[in-house]
Structures are given as structure tokens and as C-alpha cells.
């Protein structure tokens, strides 16, 4: 295998607004059958990353949580008459790496391969089989379902997994975002092979797909790859719009006893959409509070000043519909109430007053100055292409990003905090809750009795 083909051509790059920041040149088109393609050519390394994203993730599970994850995981477990072993060998014997996952909004499958013609062809052809001709063999279905059950069981020994699931449930109620993507004990008993096939046939269709390609291929090769991938995929239809999320919810506190030394605490509410009209404002607004690592106010107050936690943060997770705003930390059980009351007070004050001028300016400068770090590798760039395509963001999303951040002023941030965050209507989840070290007995927490 050759690794020295690397013609050093830097095609990407257009200059950006006075800064010497080079931005990738994104090409976009619609391939056969209606699949949308986003492509960036980068000739520096003899490799290419390809990813096909579908609106076929947890939010589409319906009344069978885990369905999307299982469907996605079964694609490479048997396709075009080949079994899992043969498929894996087809990828791995040419050094290709299969990559697939199913989240709440997005499900994807893709491959990273060398661009040496015979290797790339083998990798793309196998990916095409996996994507368009999955066999969903019954033995693979039974096995993967059994493994999901073990994984689900294992997540119940993790206080952070327990807390995260309870948090989504508390925030989203009846909305599809409430259901755990890895399923429930009940749902995993109900899922059938017919469910998997029906899910695949409905959602893994070209009109519901976005293809991202980054690497050392030219435009015509990229078109060929995209067309190969979707040639045998039906056009189908995009997934239906998801129901809207109720923005203001009833406040409540969920306490789950768990024999961990720390309590895991989450506070939050429905936050923002990926294409939210306030997206940039909210991103900037959260940044000085809990989104800028060691520079953030939460880290200063909770960790640096008081040593109460190793990790403390707040963030918006933008999704198709309102993704959550989350504030969270872990602290030893005895400090649960102190830590919770501290971060609630901090959040209330912050919503009321906003950041001070220095904090605000430091954040603007961090976000704009660090922008090039967000796509300094093919893998990061691929993530952006998937995002832009999947959420229908404008093609100049990266080109206009820094300007949009700079257009925001301190008053915008203060206004948006008060309008969009509702400290009296937040959900609090506490897992651990003071039961302390290695107590295996099933105590009901003091708080639960009050």
C-alpha cells in the first residue's frame, strides 16, 4: 500500500473577512433519488471520509424505544447475502473503518478509507451493500438484541446514565425526545424483526438522506461515490416533522437513590433548536456562564472557589426541535444540597443580570478566535457537513458564523436569557442523593419522605 501520493494542493480555502482564517469550500448538490450531498475536497492526505445521515434516530422510535439503534446496528450484520464476518473482512482487509451510530435526531453510517482506487472501490461497494441491501438475518437480530439488553443493564450501574435518562424524561414528558435511545426493558421485549424491516424501509430512503464527503477525491469522483451509494435506495420521503416541544414546563424534582459516593445533579429545561432564530444569541449567552471550560463562571464558583466538583458545566444541545438546556455537576453525597443551591442561585442571578462586560467580551473573543479549531481535520469537517445538511442550515453557515457572533451585543444576551430561560420552571434530577458509600440497603431518601 502506498502512503506517499499526497500531492500538496490546498484547494479549499477562501479568505475570510480580514482574518487570515481559511474556510472550507463546501460544494453541495442533489444526487440521484433525491439525496443531498455536501462535499469538501482536501488533497492533503490520501484518504476520504464518507457519511450518510438519515432522519432515522431515536426520535422516530415511536412506542418501541431502541428500534432506531437496533436497526442502525444491524445494517452491517448481514447484507447482499454476506454475513457479518464477510462484511467486516471486506472493509478491514483494505484498511477501511466502518462508522455508524444512532442518536436522537441523526442516524448515520459511513466509512473512512484510503483513496487508492482498488481499496476505495472495495470500501464504497461494501458500504453500498450494507446501506442498501441489508438482510437483517434473524440470528443477528436475536444476538444484537441480547447484547442491547446487556448494555441497557450496564447503564443501570452508571449514576450519570441514570441521571441523564431521568432528565430527558422529566423535560420531555410525552415528546419523542423523552424516550431512551438504547431502549427500555419492556420495549426490548416487544421489538420484532418486522419492526426493524419496516423502520428501515420507511426511513433509510434517499429523500431522507444527507451524504457528507471529505477528502482526496475530485468533484466527479465524489458524485460517483454519492450516486453509487444511493443507486439502489428508493427515493421515499423525508421523515415527518417532529411534534413541537413545549417550551415552558412544570417544574419538578426527581430524586433517585443510588449507592454512589457522589450525587449527579442535572438542572434544566427545553432549550433551543438547531435552526433557532436565537441560536447564536443563546450560544453566546451560555458561554461565559458554563460553556467556556475553566473560564466559565460555574467552574470558578463551584470548582475553583469551593472545590465542590471536578466537572460542572451548562450547555444548550441544539436539536431539530428544542434540545435541552442542561446545567450539571457531580459532588460527594454530603454536599448535594449545598452544591444544588449554589448552582441554582448562580443561574438565577445570571439570568437576571447576564454576564458582565469582561465576561461577554472574553467569550466573543474565544468563540471567534477559536473558530478555525472547529474544522482543522477531515473528521471534524465531516461532522459539520452532516450538521449543515441534516438541519438544512445555509451553505454559507461557516462563512457567516464569525460575523453573526460579532453582531451580538451584551443587551442581546441579557434579553435572550430572560426570554428563553425560565428558572421557576426547570427540572432537577438528583441521582445518589445522600445515601453515601457502599450502602446496599434500599433506603428511601430523607427528602423523599418530606
Amino acid at each position: 500500500m502506498r502512503t506517499s501520493l499526497v500531492p500538496v494542493i490546498l484547494l479549499l480555502m477562501s479568505l475570510f473577512a480580514g482574518n487570515a482564517v481559511a474556510l472550507p469550500d463546501i460544494q453541495a448538490w442533489t444526487a440521484e433519488k433525491g439525496a443531498r450531498v455536501y462535499f469538501v475536497q482536501n488533497m492533503m492526505l490520501p484518504m476520504v471520509d464518507v457519511r450518510i445521515v438519515f432522519d432515522a434516530a431515536g426520535a422516530r422510535d415511536g412506542d418501541k424505544p431502541g428500534l432506531a439503534v437496533l436497526t442502525n446496528g444491524l445494517l452491517a450484520e448481514g447484507a447482499a447475502g454476506k454475513d457479518a464476518q464477510q462484511l467486516a473482512e471486506s472493509f478491514e482487509s483494505v484498511g477501511a473503518q466502518l462508522d455508524n451510530d444512532s442518536l436522537r435526531d441523526m442516524a448515520y453510517i459511513g466509512v473512512r478509507t484510503l483513496t487508492e482506487e482498488q481499496y476505495m472501490r472495495a470500501a464504497i461497494n461494501t458500504l453500498t451493500d450494507v446501506l442498501t441491501r441489508p438482510d437483517f438475518p434473524e440470528d443477528a437480530f436475536n444476538r444484537e438484541l441480547a447484547r442491547m439488553k446487556v448494555a441497557l443493564k450496564a447503564s443501570k450501574q452508571s449514576p450519570s446514565d441514570i441521571a441523564s435518562k431521568a432528565f430527558y424524561k422529566a423535560i420531555y414528558g410525552d415528546h419523542p425526545y423523552a424516550s431512551p435511545t438504547d431502549g427500555t426493558e419492556e420495549s426490548l421485549e416487544l421489538i420484532t424483526l418486522d419492526d426493524i424491516k419496516a423502520f428501515y424501509n420507511r426511513y433509510y430512503v434517499a429523500n431522507n438522506a444527507v451524504i457528507g464527503i471529505v477528502g482526496a477525491v475530485d468533484r466527479s469522483k465524489a458524485e460517483e461515490i454519492a450516486n453509487t451509494l444511493v443507486a439502489n435506495l428508493p427515493s421515499g420521503e423525508r421523515a415527518d416533522p417532529l411534534p413541537a416541544v413545549q417550551e415552558v414546563i412544570s417544574p419538578n424534582t426527581v430524586r433517585i437513590d443510588f449507592p454512589s459516593r457522589q450525587s449527579h445533579i442535572y438542572v434544566g429545561q427545553p432549550g433551543m433548536k438547531r435552526d433557532d432564530k436565537d441560536y447564536f444569541k443563546l450560544y453566546v449567552a451560555n458561554h461565559p456562564f458554563g460553556g467556556s471550560g475553566f473560564a466559565s463562571r460555574l467552574v470558578q464558583v463551584v470548582r475553583e472557589d469551593r472545590g465542590l466538583a471536578y466537572s460542572v458545566h451548562s450547555y444548550f444541545s441544539p436539536m431539530r426541535e428544542l434540545g435541552p438546556f442542561t446545567m450539571g455537576l457531580q459532588t460527594k453525597a454530603e454536599q448535594t444540597d449545598e452544591a444544588l443551591s449554589l448552582i441554582r442561585t448562580e443561574l438565577n442571578n445570571y439570568i437576571k443580570e447576564g454576564p458582565d462586560k469582561d465576561e461577554f467580551e472574553a467569550s466573543i473573543s474565544n468563540i471567534t478566535g477559536g473558530f478555525p479549531l472547529n474544522f482543522d481535520s477531515n473528521s471534524k469537517l465531516l461532522g459539520y457537513l452532516a450538521l449543515i445538511g441534516f438541519y438544512d442550515l445555509p451553505l454559507d453557515y461557516l462563512d457567516t458564523y464569525v460575523d453573526k457572533i460579532r453582531d451580538i451585543d451584551l443587551d442581546d444576551v441579557r434579553e435572550v436569557l430572560q426570554r428563553r430561560l425560565h428558572p421557576d420552571s426547570m427540572v432537577t434530577v438528583i441521582v445518589g442523593n445522600g445515601n453515601g458509600v457502599n450502602q446496599n440497603d434500599n433506603q428511601v431518601s430523607t427528602a423523599a419522605n418530606e
Binding site: 481559511a22 459516593r261 469551593r306 479549531l373 428511601v444
Partner: protein, 466 residues
């Protein structure tokens, strides 16, 4: 965030050799990989890899110190000191290091492993000098204020609770290492025993800092859109004036002979059993024959290198005794290490059955040599990975830093593909026969205990103060 990692364990048996080496600025010729190096007058090594794909740079300062340098009673001190490195100098008050980098759009952090401690920034190329000046300042001028220590040690204890005490798998690994090794320092957790953290004081920090933080015990690695000569000039300007120290020579701490299989059970609240099995093996740094270590590396790929590997094929899909199974081996560690098999048994499979199934995979290698197809698959993956890893500046800098810090030298990476390609099926069988034997085995078993949970939901406004 002030992370510690134990991905790859590393070390050098003799470090003191570099003591007071005052060589002038001597720059090597650029190699195929585009790496250039120099050594400053005070003994600090500087390594630069130019990569102009994006206008950004990664800087990493590596110190030859980590968990394996520590002695009992003081475990975790390297990692706590890593946290304290953000707690101020005369020039830069506590906490400001991070704020200054953040204000320039940079990302920064640090990590401690068994054989190294490293500090890094990722930033636009224009701010390279800022990073170097800040790193040079804290290399010699750290305040180590008691008030800051008293708060930060609590943060580290929370980190230990989060990463180890409340994670049954991590806890199993910790006790596994403690039982596997008798006198090799890899028996100690990087984050330290809680008892040692409870009894650590700021004077321990000062001693550790004085002992190990000096330019002649450090390597600067810079990868990105820079010119090597510019980096050398900046490094000389900022690190050059720092005084070197008398760095102690590490004691060998070579593991004593093991006389039979060692076993430990970990009974803690958990839901799913877990099994770890480790055989004592040499690493590149310690091996009499380097070929053995590359054969072990290839063996790891045969067993666990992707979905077509033997563990996936035979244990997860074939007999279906495992819900998941894996292998780990650290070619580049400082001391002898473990070739580790781990598995989560499928539902209804006992740890005993799981153990037998894992061992059967090892025995099978002796009865039937790896096929040509398996061998070439692993080799293809290695070649491809050597291209893929160049997608990340950070990873490239890591590899250089690790190899330099354990004393193997960054050029060792250049040999990797060739050495792996040279491994034969017979060599794989030989290392299996030589090292993967029960006399050198340690087994740790997580035995889940009940984690009964109960839940209550209250409407806001009701009192739940305690």
C-alpha cells in the same frame, strides 16, 4: 478538564543520563515525516512537525514524571501537581492561565499518565508565542499556595469518586493492577489511593515540583502551521533562560517473578459482571528482542482489531458467550506491562465460562497458526491507520511526546509499519507460547452486588431541604 489518562503507559528506566547536557543548538535534517528537532542549552528538547493544512497549532510540554515515578503513600502526587500547575505564578495569578488562552480562542488542558505528565494548547498559529511564554513561566515559577492546594485536593477527590469509586469497571481495573503487579509501580493508580490523597499536603507538591519540573526533564512538541526555525527561536527565547536541575535517576523497580495465577474478586454494587485477565509481557523499552513486542502488538490486532477479529468472530458472534470482548497492550510503556483480555459475559454466561472461552482463544492460536488472510488484514489496518492518524495534529504530537518521554525517541514511530509488516505467523505463536501462560496470569472478576434504587418525584415549591 485536567484529565488524566491511562491509555498508553510508558516509562524510561534510566532518565538521569541527560543530566546537565549542555549541547548547543543543533538542528537535525528534516525527515520524511517533516519532523525537526533541537536541544536547548539547558537540555530541553524541542520537536516540531510542520503541517500547513489549517492555520492552527498544537503545543504540548511533556514532563518525564507520572504515576509510575511515585512511591507508596504518595500515589497520585503527579496528577495533583498537574492540577496545581493552573494555580498561579508571580506573573500569572491562579486561574488566569486558562483565561488568557481562552481569550485568544485557544483550548488548553493537561493529562497525567503512568509515565508522563503533559500540558497542551490548541490555538491559532498567531498565538504560539503566548503559549510558550506561559508554559515557560510555570515550568519554574509555580507558587504552590496552600489555600489553593486545600481546595484543589477536594476537586481531585471528586475526580476520583467520579472516575473510579462510582464506576465498577474502573474499580475492577484498579484492583486488577494492584494485584497483578507486586513491585512494578504500575500497581498504583494514577489518580492515587483515596487514603494518600487525604494525607497529601502542599509540601508534597513543592517537593515533587522541585524534583521533576525542569527544562532538562521536559520536551516541547509543536505540530501545526509553523516553521520549525521560528519555533526553535521562540523556544530558545522563553525556555532557554530556565535553569536545569539535577534530575534523580529512577530505580528500576523491575517486577519480581510471578509464581502462579493470581485472582481477585471485586464485589460492589453493579448490574453486569466483567472479567479482566492479564499476562505479564515485555514492552519495546524492556524487551530483549524487540520483535517479540511487535508480535504481541500484531496479536492484539488478530484478537481485537475490528469486527472481523477473532474475538468478535468467535466470542461475540460464534459461541455468543461474550456481549463484548477486547484486548489491550501498550507497546510504548516504560516498564514491563500486561497483555490484557477483558470481556462482559453474555446474559446467563458465568465468569468461569467466560474465562475458559478467552483462554481457549489463546490456546487455539497454538494449535492453528494465524492464517495469511488474518495476518494481512491486520497489516492493512496498520498501514491505513498510519495515514488516518495524520488527520489529527494532536494525535501526532501525542505520539512524538510519548516516545520521547519514555526514552524510545520519536523516530521509533517511523519503524512501526515496517516492524509490524515483518511479523510472521510463527512469531505470533512463539510469543503466545512464551508469555501467555498461566504462571504469568492475573484474573479480576467484578461480582455485581445489588444496587436497589428508589425514585421520588416532587413538584417544585415543596420543601426538600434537609
Amino acid at each position: 478538564m485536567r484529565i488524566y489518562i491511562s491509555l498508553i503507559a510508558l516509562t524510561t528506566i534510566v532518565i538521569g543520563l541527560a543530566l546537565f547536557v549542555f549541547v548547543g543548538q543543533e538542528v537535525t535534517e528534516p525527515t520524511q515525516e517533516g519532523v525537526q528537532t533541537t536541544t536547548l542549552g539547558n537540555g530541553m528538547k524541542v520537536i516540531v512537525k510542520e503541517n500547513s493544512r489549517a492555520p492552527v497549532v498544537v503545543t504540548q510540554v511533556w514532563y518525564k514524571v507520572g504515576g509510575s515515578y511515585e512511591h507508596e503513600g504518595l500515589t497520585g502526587v503527579s496528577h495533583v501537581l498537574e492540577h496545581m500547575m493552573f494555580k498561579g505564578t508571580d506573573e500569572i495569578p491562579a486561574g488566569e492561565f486558562s483565561e488568557i488562552i481562552a481569550a485568544k480562542g485557544g483550548r488548553e488542558n493537561a493529562f497525567t499518565s503512568k509515565d508522563y505528565t503533559a500540558y497542551f494548547q490548541r490555538i491559532s498559529t498567531d498565538h504560539l508565542e503566548l503559549c510558550l511564554s506561559l508554559e515557560a513561566d510555570r515550568m519554574r515559577n509555580l507558587l504552590l499556595n496552600e489555600d489553593e492546594f486545600v481546595k484543589e485536593i477536594e476537586v481531585v477527590k471528586e475526580e476520583r469518586r467520579l472516575r473510579t469509586d462510582d464506576d465498577p469497571t474502573a474499580l475492577t481495573y484498579e484492583r486488577f493492577n494492584a494485584v497483578a503487579f507486586t513491585n512494578n509501580p504500575y500497581r498504583q493508580p494514577i489518580i492515587g489511593w483515596m487514603e494518600d490523597l487525604e494525607n497529601m499536603d502542599v509540601e508534597d507538591m513543592r517537593n515533587w515540583y522541585r524534583t521533576w519540573y525542569a527544562p532538562n526533564n521536559a520536551t516541547l512538541v509543536v505540530v501545526g502551521d509553523v516553521k520549525a526555525k521560528d519555533v526553535f527561536a521562540l523556544a530558545k527565547k522563553h525556555f532557554g533562560p530556565l535553569k536545569p536541575s539535577d534530575i534523580p535517576q529512577l530505580k528500576p523497580r523491575r517486577e519480581v517473578q510471578q509464581y502462579g495465577t493470581q485472582r481477585v474478586q471485586i464485589k460492589v454494587p453493579a448490574k453486569v459482571p466483567f472479567l479482566v485477565m492479564g499476562f505479564k509481557v515485555p514492552v519495546l523499552k524492556t524487551a530483549e528482542d524487540a520483535a517479540d513486542t511487535y508480535a504481541l502488538e500484531l496479536l492484539a490486532g488478530l484478537l481485537d482489531g475490528g469486527n472481523s477479529s477473532r474475538f468478535s468472530k468467535n466470542l461475540v458472534r460464534g459461541s455468543q458467550v461474550a456481549a463484548s470482548a477486547g484486548v489491550s497492550y501498550s507497546l510504548y510503556s516504560l516498564h514491563d506491562n500486561l497483555f490484557t483480555l477483558s470481556a462482559i459475559p453474555a446474559d446467563g454466561v458465568s465468569s468461569e465460562e467466560m474465562e475458559q472461552a478467552l483462554l481457549a482463544e489463546i490456546t487455539a492460536l497454538l494449535e492453528q497458526a494465524p492464517t495469511e488472510q488474518e495476518m494481512s488484514r491486520v497489516k492493512a489496518q496498520v498501514v491505513a491507520s498510519s495515514v488516518y492518524e495524520q488527520d489529527s495534529n494532536f494525535y501526532q504530537a501525542m505520539k512524538i511526546g510519548i516516545l520521547e518521554t519514555v526514552g524510545l525517541g520519536w523516530r521509533t514511530a517511523d519503524d512501526y509499519v515496517e516492524r509490524i509488516n515483518a511479523v510472521t505467523a510463527e512469531q505470533v505463536q512463539q510469543v503466545v507460547k512464551k508469555y501467555l501462560i498461566k504462571e504469568y496470569l492475573t484474573v479480576a472478576e467484578l461480582v455485581p452486588q445489588p444496587t436497589e434504587t428508589s425514585m421520588s418525584v416532587s413538584a417544585e415549591g415543596m420543601s426538600h431541604a434537609h
